[in-house]
Subunit: 208 residues, 2 copies
């Protein structure tokens, strides 16, 4: 597939498409039409076809799209057909919760180590190493770390981001409450509150 | 404001608008045009005006929109001009991380208690009570709990959801890895992985 510039609105919808296709596949649904997809996504069929056209259209036939093919294509587009070596920087409650989450392996994200300034209090599964942050640059280079999860206090977030970028990390998944913007590394800032605000929107504007 | 049906695509963009307006206000920006907003949001000016038209247009003048007014309006639309009584069900690492997050108070979300089957291991700030889950229904009714954060193992998620709904809770913010769909209560399922997948999308499709 050619690398073309796709609008961020389309890109932001990709995870929801993947979730839907995965659910359909798990339910044993073989084919799905663009109007069925649009109904489940809360959008329009023309929007769905327009979104898909960014990726070659996904081969719609008379009976709709092949669900398994949609899953495979969407995983490939999102880079989920590969595996990633991951570290967690910041061993507080969020860092530990992520280190203990067992779903990452299955998705191809292998947590290799947790780094913190103080390591004694950190409880993680035994196959994950815990190191002082001093060891981070060397570890990243030697273990071909692709992604750093940042879960440090906000004061430290930018320093950590520069440190991992300079150590060759290509992606940052940032849980610190300090937005990270940095050249030379891809960053996804987690805005947890925003789904809480969607909840309060619904509570104040939608009928039960 | 009249309660009208607004598309989920528009609603899903509201938190990003609020975040942008808040950033602009913090930077001391007084006015902003729809084309400036669209540039910062990665969308088009006509999309911005169309989104805003769902809420009466926000009074655009020749020099653009008043940033403070945009903030106030967006907060009001999302129900963030009110306060909410909140409980956390499930005192594991995620539950504790959320109980220890100090930003909720400032946003008007007051965590009143954490519930779990086993309470001895749970470390939360001293003003937050920790109770056995048996006490949940009575506590919710007596303390006018609006929102339940669910962070229990996935096997227990639906039972907890029904329990809090039956106790009068109007909103569920669900961190369990089991999607909750339930009548009689508003639910926002947190899909943390999806922002990780946006990161891998960027890593595989965008230049640094």
């Amino acid at each position: 597939m050619e690398k073309q510039k796709i609008s961020s609105a389309v890109i932001n919808r990709l995870p929801a498409y993947l979730r839907l296709f995965t659910e359909l596949e798990e339910k044993g649904v073989a084919h799905v039409s663009s109007s069925e997809i649009s109904e489940l996504m809360g959008t329009t069929a023309s929007q769905v076809r327009q979104d898909f056209s960014n990726f070659g259209g996904f081969g719609r036939q008379g009976y709709g799209y092949d669900v398994r093919y949609l899953c495979e294509q969407m995983q490939q587009i999102m880079g989920l057909d590969k595996t990633y070596n991951v570290i967690i920087v910041g061993g507080g409650k969020i860092g530990q919760a992520l280190a203990n989450y067992q779903g990452f392996d299955r998705l191809g994200f292998f947590i290799k180590a947790v780094f913190d300034k103080e390591v004694w209090h950190i409880r993680v599964p035994s196959h994950i190493d815990v190191f002082d942050t001093d060891k981070l640059p060397e570890f990243c280079r030697e273990n071909k770390i692709d992604i750093a999860i940042i879960s440090v206090p906000k004061e430290a977030a930018m320093d950590v981001a520069r440190m991992v970028r300079d150590a060759g990390v290509k992606g940052i998944w940032n849980f610190a409450s300090q937005e990270i913007k940095l050249d030379g590394v891809h960053v996804e800032n987690v805005h947890l509150n925003e789904s809480l605000f969607l909840l309060t929107y619904k509570m104040n504007n939608e009928e039960l």
